[in-house]
């Protein structure tokens, strides 16, 4: 994975072995750099992937070297993410399955409670919420004032 620095082109090229870092890992790593670099990926000889990374802003030689190092770190990061995802695939399925199962409404009393009452109208106001305050408590207040 020896990076080739091309300072005149503001670019660094890195060859990655596909046996070590699969193609989707390289793509995922490249995607992380899309906001600050222009990326081109292509197949190279002997099962390798060539990543050309060009800075959107002018970069010094040192910055290009740092960029290459960051890309290599990101490759490792994405590889580990992939391995962890593969390892915990079954567990994730169980968790999601259980979450979906518990979200289903239960049969019986709880389900009956959750269902809206069919004989109710939207105009019905059993708690008297729509009655103005004056109508509801106005007389009491007047009586209090009179006393």
């Amino acid at each position: 994975m020896n990076p080739t620095i091309q300072a005149a082109k503001n670019m660094v090229s890195i060859q990655v072995d596909e046996k070590v870092f699969p193609r989707d890992v390289v793509v995922a790593a490249a995607y992380i750099f899309i906001d600050r670099c222009y990326i081109r990926l292509e197949r190279a000889l002997r099962g390798r992937v060539l990543a050309r990374i060009k800075g959107k802003k002018k970069l010094s030689r040192n910055q290009l070297v740092n960029l290459a190092d960051e890309f290599e770190n990101e490759l490792l990061h994405q590889l580990i993410r992939r391995q962890v995802a593969e390892r915990t695939d079954g567990l994730r399925e169980v968790i999601v399955g259980r979450a979906l199962f518990s979200a289903e409404p239960e049969s019986g009393a709880e389900a009956a409670q959750a269902e809206p009452q069919e004989d109710m109208d939207y105009l019905d106001d059993p708690l008297g919420i729509a009655i103005p305050w004056e109508e509801k408590y106005g007389d009491d207040k007047k009586e209090e004032e009179g006393q």
Binding site: R23, D24, V27, A28, A30, Y31, I34, Y38, I39, R40, L41, E42, R43, K54
Partner: protein
């Protein structure tokens, strides 16, 4: 005298082409840039240039035409980035 005429014809040719007649060619590997991603990118950049895509072996050749000088400098690179992001999202 002949040199002057040649110069004049060059200037005329440049004027005919106009400042917006910049072209560029981009080659992308089919393994990393699927057709659907390129199609999406083409739609996204259609207002900036006329874009033609054709396959040539294991590459897709993208031809940009009718670009402004400012767009010509960045458009192919931005197009490649956009296509890559589409490929990642679609995958």
């Amino acid at each position: 005298m002949i040199k002057k005429k040649k110069k004049a014809s060059k200037v005329k040719a440049k004027a005919k082409a106009g400042p917006k007649e910049k072209t560029a060619i981009l080659r992308l590997d089919v393994a990393f840039y699927p057709q659907a991603a390129l199609k999406q990118a083409k739609e996204a950049f259609a207002h900036l240039a006329s874009i033609e895509i054709r396959r040539q072996g294991r590459q897709r050749v993208i031809k940009f035409g009718g670009m402004s000088a400012a767009a010509a400098r960045k458009l192919p690179d931005e197009f490649a980035n956009y296509a890559l992001s589409c490929a990642v999202v679609e995958a």
